[in-house]
Amino acid sequence: MDLSEAPRIATREAYGLSLAELGKSRGDIVVLDADLSGSTRTKYFAQAFPDRFFNCGVAEANMLGVAAGLATGGKTVFASSFAMFATGKAWEQIRQSVCVPELNVKICATHAGLTVGEDGKSHQMLEDITLMRVLPHMTVLVPADATEAAAAVRAAAEHDGPVYIRLSRASTPVLFPEDHPFAIGKGHLLRDGTDLALIACGVEVVEALAAAELLAQDGFAVRVIDMPSIKPIDEDLICAAAEECGAIMTVEEHQVCGGLGDAVGEVVGARCPVPVHKLGVHDTFGQSGTPTELLAHHGLDAAGIATSARALLTTLAADNKKGRA
């Protein structure tokens, strides 16, 4: 997949545009923001449907409670802020007021992960997948590109119940065509191979594809899977990868504790045991820098992923040899 010519659109931009589009046909959609509507792109909806947009100010806990109250009145509510504040400051309200009563609230959080960049560790939310995944009744989606983000927003609007969508600030290549099939609970096989399976989400899907290209030059056939639905997760796709590749490497711009890697590991451990090597942020906070610098620092750019994959493939080959000896 040559992405050098692909248009670059941030998933937050696709979110804002698709939400404003949905607003035309779905009069039940109400949108909330916490004084970040320019950055989260809910401003497009606010401009088109001012009567159905409420700015809650810098008060995220209240915003999630308001979202719950609107949902009890039959509204489909989209509530946005940065991932740090939407899931960190308001976690208890999401638990108590949204997930406990199973209300139709969609938390669409932007500026997730390391690729926030220069704002640094206070804003680089690396724990949100964990915080949302652990909640009963919550669906967790991490789209890989603009097309998938728009599809995830439409799927969330159709789904009856709480949904978390993790979105990015950075502009990234558009990977998928308009007719890209998207469904909650489904992943996508993007590149076949049987030496190793890379399972990635969000901005790391592009990096994983590029890493697979680098590894192909070394003679390795690496499978790449896009896993936008973290909860529920595509167990069959994971197990097929485990059985056909013999080892899995997960890639996410998130703490390895509780994120995509652990979600994959839970399935593999229970159903199809093979080694699962988890790439992500290892028990540390971020720092200021460009997205490119930060991904490289954490070994989460294509070169870093390829380096880790080579090391894993070498170890696995040595283990195999020992096993045969």
Binding site: N62, G65, V66, G69, Q93, Q96, V100
Partner: protein, 276 residues
């Protein structure tokens, strides 16, 4: 509007029933929170009998009034009111807090029971009330949203986020009833964390706020009528009450916030309430 003699008698009868039910329920459960709801019984009965239009026939109506018990731990009294209004059989009250019961230790949203929101974690209710009030306004419903809260709950920052938002959006269809009994779990409020004058605070936040004797059903009724005449501001009734009201050995005693009476104490309490 004056509370009619018949309605006043019904409010008083209902409040008496609430107090008896609380003692029986918490005694049967062996745990729970009797003090708070005993103090709230008079204003809650006034609300449920004379104002809130929730009954079995309209429980599914989207345009009926809504109620949220922000201080969810006081739900023994709330459940009694729902049962007395016919939402479910009164016998079921003795299942309170037991395994498999619909009457959970803190309220859980239930269309069947007429429970409009899950609560229990202090501070969350008023925000949900703001959302309900916005939804009612968007749909053009003339319904009202009532939230019960408390002085202790007012220590939560989220209450003031919600108070700011309610005034900003001009939610005249929202009314909060704050149980001000000066007591919280760890002691009297002045010894733990004094929230001071809540009428002044709500007023400063842009609300129509009133101090009311929380045991004077006519005054409560009048204040709830006043709230309905507001066209731009949300209303706050600061209901001054005595925790444990009606049971002499529980009155103004922080120790009865969250402790169940044993059989002997329950019998003594019911005797004082006139039904022992």
């Amino acid at each position: 509007m004056v509370l009619s003699k018949e309605l006043k008698l019904e409010v008083e009868r209902t409040a008496r029933g609430v107090r008896e039910d609380i003692i029986r329920m918490v005694n049967a459960a062996g745990c729970g929170h009797p003090g708070g709801p005993l103090g709230m019984a008079d204003f809650m009965a006034t609300l449920f009998v004379a104002h809130l239009n929730l009954k079995p026939e309209n429980r599914d109506a989207p345009d009926r009034d809504r109620f949220i018990l922000g201080n969810g731990h006081t739900c023994a009294g709330y459940y009694s009111l729902l049962a007395q209004r016919g939402l479910f059989p009164r016998e079921e009250l003795l299942e309170f807090r037991k395994f498999g019961s619909r009457l959970q230790g803190h309220p859980h949203r239930s269309a069947e029971l007429g429970i409009d929101m899950s609560t229990g974690s202090l501070g969350t209710g008023l925000s949900v009330g703001v959302g309900m009030a916005l939804a009612a306004r968007l749909d053009g419903h003339g319904s009202r949203i009532y939230v019960a809260s408390s002085d202790g709950e007012s220590q939560e920052g989220q209450i003031w986020e919600a108070a700011t938002a309610a005034a900003h959006y001009g939610l005249a269809n929202l009314t909060v009833l704050v149980d001000f009994n000066n007591v919280q779990i760890d002691g009297h409020m002045r010894d733990v964390m004094d929230v001071r004058d809540l009428r002044e605070k709500y007023t400063a936040f842009g609300w129509h706020a009133m101090d009311v004797d929380g045991h004077d059903v006519e005054a409560i009724h009048q204040a709830l009528c006043d709230a309905k005449t507001e066209s731009e501001r949300p209303s706050a009734l600061i209901c001054h009450t005595v925790i444990g009201k009606g049971v002499s050995f529980m009155e103004d005693q922080p120790g009865w916030h969250g402790v169940a009476p044993d059989n002997e104490q329950a019998a003594a309490a019911l005797a004082e309430l006139g039904t022992g």
